[in-house]
């Protein structure tokens, strides 16, 4: 009889899973495999009838492709600016929101609010805010006496990427704050009492109690920020289309342009795979570091 019950359990399990498996296999599993196959072919969607197999040619070509290399370096630059500011800013926000005796929820909601705005509307709003003539930011600079600094912030290649860092911080910082808030609230108060009894200063307490207790939350926030940085797409697409002079063409924009502007699906797929592997490696590495740190 146990055999029959077990067979029934298996049948029931797959019955529950069938709708999900149909979607996962057809629209995620198949594309994962097909993108890999396409990455080994030359396939211009407009000119070629069928993909022509070229082996690893597309991957080798990426190494010589200055557009791709530039996008790669630019994405690294964006990541190097964005991730530390994101971690520091969201930790600061979480500590402040956690420490206020009243109105904590109000502050939390205010900082979290941009989440519902989304990347394209954010891009539209900040195109305007950072515009040269009618933008709020330049008006504000004028009011505080720094009118000479006013400029078209995303029109200037030197400032465009930095401006997008600022916009992405506005859009995403709330998520980091929530991750750290949950962490701060899970630290037992006894730890702080013990530190106070030992006569630890506020800085000492922060370094020896708060930060170590937040290890897993720091790992989660770092992975999340890294992935968001590599996936940067909507805000630069809307604000600059990758310009001016390619100053904000990120990896994601490069892949998208290769596929849907130039219809070079083979090359785009190879570049897409490089980006996907990069994201998976970054996530795995950060988790491994977090785990190793905990065991040490």
């Amino acid at each position: 009889m146990p055999g029959r019950r077990r067979r029934r359990e298996i049948a029931v399990s797959y019955a529950f899973l069938t709708p999900a498996l149909l979607f996962l296999i057809a629209l995620l599993g198949y594309p994962i495999v097909d993108t890999f196959y396409l990455s080994l072919t030359k396939y211009n969607f407009v000119y070629d009838d069928d993909p022509a197999f070229v082996g690893s040619g597309n991957y080798a070509a990426l190494l010589d492709n200055s557009g791709f290399i530039d996008a790669f370096v630019r994405t690294l630059g964006f990541t190097a600016m964005f991730v530390p500011l994101f971690l520091g800013g969201s930790l600061l926000a979480a500590i402040a929101v956690n420490a206020v005796p009243r109105f904590s929820n109000l502050f939390r909601s205010a900082i979290f609010l941009p989440i519902i705005v989304g990347e394209s509307v954010t891009g539209v709003i900040f195109t305007w805010i950072f515009s040269r003539d009618f933008g709020l930011f330049n008006q504000f600079l004028g009011v505080i006496g720094l009118g000479a600094w006013a400029r078209g912030w995303v029109a200037d290649p030197r400032y465009a990427l930095m401006t997008i860092v600022a916009v992405e911080l506005w859009l995403l910082l709330g998520v980091g704050m929530l991750i750290f808030l949950a962490g701060l609230r899970s630290i037992p108060t006894e730890l702080y009492d013990a530190a106070a009894v030992d006569g630890a200063s506020r800085t000492q307490t922060f370094i020896s109690v708060t930060l170590p207790s937040l290890r897993i939350h720091i790992v989660i926030a770092t992975v999340w920020a890294l992935v968001q940085a590599v996936k940067l797409f909507g805000v630069p697409y809307v604000m600059t289309h990758g310009g001016p002079a390619g100053a904000t063409e990120t990896l994601y924009l490069y892949v998208w342009n290769a596929a849907f502007k130039f219809f070079e699906l083979g090359q785009a797929s190879a570049a897409g795979y490089v980006v996907a592997v990069l994201i998976l490696l970054l996530s795995a590495l950060t988790y491994a570091l977090g785990r190793a740190g905990r065991e040490a």
């Binding site: 359990e9 609010l113 519902i116 929530l178 697409y237 996907a276």
Partner: protein
């Protein structure tokens, strides 16, 4: 001594929290305030945050000035209403055996789900575009709804699996002994107890779908008919680029429902964020 130090901490916390809150709210407040300004005021009066002469003109003239705005909103609503419940139902079904039963292939299925949580969307886009081009699904509503369901399933399944695991299985066992079918035990016992998980799935999927840009602009962005996140960029770019008052009113109307739903369900969003992050 202790009291003063505590008071200084509180003051410092208020200062930082207020400064950050202002920084995060001002851009949106600026949009709301501009939606009540006449075009003339926007271009000539500088240095006034609030309108000198408030007007409702941009709201009243919205559909005549931007005749396609209602279509964008309607498309966004249809896509959201079709995909969010589908994701919730399919994930609620799939998470159940993953949490409750041991069956061959269980680990393979769950590993694949975890992998797809981490894989970036861009990897799926090219083949989906090719398929939809061949089947004439490009620039149709189902052509966007189907990928949205698939893209949001992995995280939803992870959240539901975790949610069922927090419920003791005694209730379902009792129901099964009383002669309930597995489907019945799931629907009337396990699913109601997993309510917070379902709420997390709904709010996550809602936010993701309502804002989604890359798939929408690729699969459903040609011509006049698209969703709001793509349509708003058309309104901005085609000769409308200086109609900021009109743009502001549009943004306010489009964000209002999202804000309402979000405030209602935000605590589940936090929960889902942490569970998804801790697992993935």
């Amino acid at each position: 001594m202790r009291l003063t130090s505590r008071r200084i901490s509180a003051l410092l916390a208020y200062a930082v929290a207020t400064a950050l809150s202002v920084l995060f709210v001002v851009p949106l407040a600026w949009v709301v305030s501009s939606s009540f300004k006449s075009d003339q005021e926007i271009y000539t009066v500088h240095g006034h945050f609030l309108s000198v002469q408030p007007t409702l003109a941009h709201y009243v003239d919205l559909t005549s000035d931007l005749p396609r705005f209602p279509d964008y909103m309607l498309n966004s609503v249809i896509v959201t209403v079709a995909s969010v419940p589908a994701v919730a139902l399919i994930a609620a079904l799939a998470g159940y055996p993953l949490a409750r039963y041991r069956f061959p292939g269980r680990n393979l299925v769950f590993s694949f789900v975890l992998l797809t949580v981490a894989i970036p969307y861009v990897l799926y886009l090219v083949p989906i575009y090719v398929i939809e081009s061949a089947t004439d699904l490009l620039n149709t509503l189902p052509g966007l709804i189907l990928p949205y369901i698939a893209l949001n399933l992995p995280l939803a399944i992870v959240l539901m699996e975790g949610s069922y695991r927090t419920i003791p299985r005694d209730f379902e066992d009792a129901a099964r002994i009383d002669g309930c079918s597995p489907l019945r035990a799931w629907w009337s016992v396990a699913l109601p107890l997993a309510g917070p998980g379902v709420a997390a799935v709904i709010i996550f999927t809602f936010v993701a779908v309502w804002e989604e840009f890359m798939f929408a602009v690729t699969l459903f962005g040609a011509g006049d008919n698209t969703t709001f996140p793509v349509g708003i960029t058309f309104l901005q770019s085609e000769g409308q680029s200086y109609a900021f008052g009109q743009l502001s009113a549009t943004i306010v109307i489009a964000l209002a429902p999202a804000l309402g739903i979000f405030l209602l369900l935000q605590r589940y969003f936090v929960r889902g964020l942490l569970e998804g992050g801790l697992k993935g």
